[in-house]
């Protein structure tokens, strides 16, 4: 935190609204981080919670995660605008990165009585920006946890030179308006519907920053599949 303050002092001449906002967002993100880990601890310390308590706890957790994701989006947007959102490609073990996001949201999923499964070859490695892709998966996963009934399935495999990460749920599916412009969510950011659109907008932007030779990453939305819910697909070259 102190570093961030120093940063502002150092460039006082460039102090503008968006910098102040970014700095505040950064601060809020720290607080929400503390809040979320304290909450995790608190939940563990409550012996045999009642159904009602469970409900409340998962609501608090879900909303906290949403705020955290929103703040991350704001920061990303700030960087995207200032052109300081670079992609750091490196080789990662796909299963490990996805597993981490499932673990990250484990308590939330359990509280809602959801089963999250992962299908991915343990040996599959791919080049991508792990932090960025984790952010996308986390965002989509939290959203899916909110809207599914019993099951969420994450699947990753190599297909035609792309890494394809699919996240399918058994919820009500994406609204028709979103499906029609899939992969180009920029036009569908509708602030009245909450952060979902914004999250997908960033997912598309970040996917597109993944470039290999002449191919770009992209996202696709569908409904249906084995679980008969929403399906989010991320393709990385």
């Amino acid at each position: 935190m102190s570093q961030e303050k120093g940063h502002l002092q150092g460039e006082a001449s460039e102090l503008d609204f968006s910098s102040v906002l970014a700095s505040s967002v950064h601060d809020m993100k720290n607080s929400i981080g503390m809040l979320m880990s304290s909450l995790d601890e608190l939940i563990e310390q409550i012996p045999d919670p009642s159904e009602g308590q469970n409900q409340l706890m998962s609501t608090v957790q879900y909303e906290a995660s949403r705020v955290n994701n929103d703040l991350i989006h704001l920061l990303s947007f700030y960087r995207l605008k200032k052109n300081t959102l670079p992609i750091t490609l490196d080789e990662h073990i796909v299963a490990e990165v996805l597993e981490e996001q499932i673990v990250y949201n484990k308590i939330l999923a359990e509280k809602r009585g959801l089963e999250v499964t992962l299908e991915c070859d343990e040996e599959l490695v791919w080049y991508f920006d792990a932090e960025m892709i984790s952010g996308i998966v986390n965002n989509v996963l939290i959203n899916a946890i909110r809207y599914s009934r019993k099951k969420i399935c994450i699947l990753a495999k190599e297909k035609d030179g792309y890494l394809e990460i699919t996240l399918a749920d058994d919820g009500g599916g994406f609204p028709e308006s979103m499906l029609s412009t899939s992969g180009d969510c920029i036009k569908t950011v509708d602030f009245s519907t909450g952060s979902t659109g914004l999250g997908l907008f960033f997912a598309g932007q970040i996917a597109a920053l993944h470039i290999n030779k002449d191919r770009k990453g992209f996202i696709k939305l569908r409904n249906g599949g084995a679980l008969q819910g929403g399906i989010f697909c991320l393709f990385l070259p």
Partner: protein, 538 residues
């Protein structure tokens, strides 16, 4: 593979008490008992130096003082953290990792706050699985047996395990580290054929730099900074390329761009100061050195060099700027020097250097007696000094005496200096002194051959005198005194034995050296007389 944590040890470094106890609880939950924590960077480093840990969890933002990266640098630099252990850097936001990602010293992974018990565990599992799979490689690196480490990398690569990519990366890095630049370049090239990855581009560019293909390196570094303007390491290298290509102004400009983005990096500030000094941009140099002093306080790079560099550039400013700004610079220089003397009380070399700089500042401020006092103290220290004195200190001393017009001392000190292992900057300083006409004269007067020649000439042994003057002129070919003496002696011989082509030619060479002599010079009259006689001989 299930990792057993019961017997593992950990060190947690974070300025946040709640974070420390939070992480400690998580580790205890995994079964760990041997856990230590540190609330400041210094405490963390001290604890790390005492004993080895299996796990280091270090926050990047540690408030004032050192940051996590500086801790990592220090611990890796002194080989305190083993490559077989796990070092996790915790950052407040996920983009910090990207900014830091190109630095030389890397943690095993970056984790973004908030940390949860389950996430930390999966990440640690991941790291230990990797560490165990390639234990041979890391152990060989820890033992500094890089050939062996490369061999183990090759074995892992041949096995085509999921850690193959990691081993190729490590191998390329090791090849570069062991100066196998052609091999590292080729390996990076091979990687880049498959996919353009920043670290491979960086590795290739660094290899090209070491192979002295500066144009090729510039192209790659430029591409890296264009794609990611926070890739400061690429800026640093780009600047080095320009320097090697003999474009110091461009080098400075490039470094200034990087500093604007990250003003906290001390090494870069020092480098900028040095470059700006070379480019005669004293204001930039002063600013950079001033920052390096402030940043150095908490860093491994804390060194009297920073203070002395600052004082020197302020001194130069005072010497070359007669306005109020120059006076102010002089004042700041003296304050800096006073603080430095106190701070490094026991370091005799520092004590000498501060006095030498102070003497020259006092000369600029027209306080000669204060200058003389400083110089006298420095001289006393020099006589007491045990061990070899660096060339640069002797040159500084000669410069100080020169600024006080004490030519004897300056000239005799210059006799102690050799050009052999001087760097470019020192060489330039020596050249400036050696070519100083007044010092040159005094050196001639101190020249033994010249003195002996004068004695022989006076006792009418002209032939022997000429031999002495010839030896003297070999040592100081441009000295007015020696050239005049030699010319005069040659004329004497020609008057005695008659003109010879060889003597006459030598005489003309001497006079040619004196052509630029100005009328005010005390030797001008003598020069005129001698050249008159010489032309009458012709």
């Amino acid at each position: 593979m299930a990792i057993i944590y019961r017997d593992k040890s950990a060190l947690i470094i974070d300025d946040f008490g709640e974070f420390r106890s939070g992480v400690r609880k998580m580790l205890e939950y995994y079964g760990m008992k041997d856990i230590q924590t540190a609330g400041t960077a210094d405490d963390g480093v001290a604890k790390a130096k005492k004993r080895a840990f299996d796990i280091y969890i270090c926050d990047y933002n540690l408030g004032d003082g050192k940051d996590g990266q500086q801790i990592l640098e220090e611990l890796r630099h002194f080989k305190i953290v083993k490559h077989t252990s796990v070092f996790i850097m915790v950052t407040a936001e996920n983009t910090q990792g990207m900014v830091l990602g190109a630095l030389e010293y890397q943690p095993d992974c970056y984790l973004t706050k908030p940390l949860t018990k389950a996430v930390l565990k999966t990440r640690l599992d991941r790291m230990f699985n990797l560490k165990e799979a390639i234990w041979d490689v890391n152990n060989a690196i820890d033992e500094e047996d890089y050939e062996e480490a490369i061999k183990y990398c090759d074995e892992n690569i041949a096995d085509k395990s999921k850690y193959m990519g990691f081993c190729i990366k490590t191998k390329a890095h090791l090849l570069y580290q062991t100066n196998n630049f052609t091999a590292s370049r080729d390996l990076y090239d091979m990687l880049l054929e498959g996919r353009k990855v920043d670290w491979a581009v960086l590795g290739k560019a660094k290899s090209l730099f070491s192979l002295e293909d500066y144009d090729g390196a510039v192209k790659l570094f430029k591409g890296l900074v264009k794609e990611n303007e926070m890739n400061l390491v690429a800026f640093d290298w780009l600047s080095r390329c320009y320097e090697m290509k003999g474009e110091p102004t461009e080098a400075q400009k490039t470094l200034e761009l990087a500093i604007k983005k990250s003003p906290k990096a001390i090494k870069r500030q020092i480098k900028l100061g040095e470059l700006a000094k070379k480019n005669n941009d004293l204001d930039t140099a002063t600013k950079a050195f001033r920052k390096s002093v402030r940043l150095g306080e908490h860093s491994v790079y804390r060194s009297s060099e920073n203070e002395l560099n600052l004082a020197k550039s302020l001194m130069e400013k005072a010497a070359t700027d007669s306005t109020l700004a120059g006076k102010k610079a002089g004042k700041e220089a003296l304050e800096t020097l006073e603080a430095t003397e106190k701070k490094y009380r026991r370091d005799e070399k520092v004590q000498m250097e501060t006095r030498l700089i102070a003497a020259r500042v006092f000369v600029s401020l027209e306080r000669e007696s204060a200058a003389e006092k400083q110089l006298k103290e420095a001289k006393e220290l020099k006589e007491k000094f045990v061990g070899d004195l660096e060339q640069s200190v002797i040159v500084n001393m000669a410069q100080a005496y020169r600024s006080l017009d004490d030519l004897d001392e300056a000239a005799s000190l210059l006799n102690e200096v050799s050009h052999s292992d001087a760097d470019d900057e020192l060489k330039a300083d020596i050249e400036a002194l050696v070519n100083d006409p007044e010092i040159m004269e005094r050196q001639a007067e101190l020249n033994e051959h010249n003195q002996k020649g004068v004695e022989l000439y006076q006792s009418k042994e002209t032939d022997k005198a000429i031999d002495c003057f010839l030896l003297a002129s070999e040592q100081s070919p441009t000295s007015a005194a020696i050239n005049l003496n030699l010319a005069q002696a040659l004329i004497k011989r020609m008057q005695r034995d008659g003109k010879t082509a060889s003597d006459f030619e030598k005489c003309m060479v001497c006079l040619k050296h004196l052509e630029s002599l100005e009328e005010e010079n005390k030797r001008y009259k003598r020069y005129q007389e001698i050249s008159k006689i010489a032309s009458s001989l012709g």
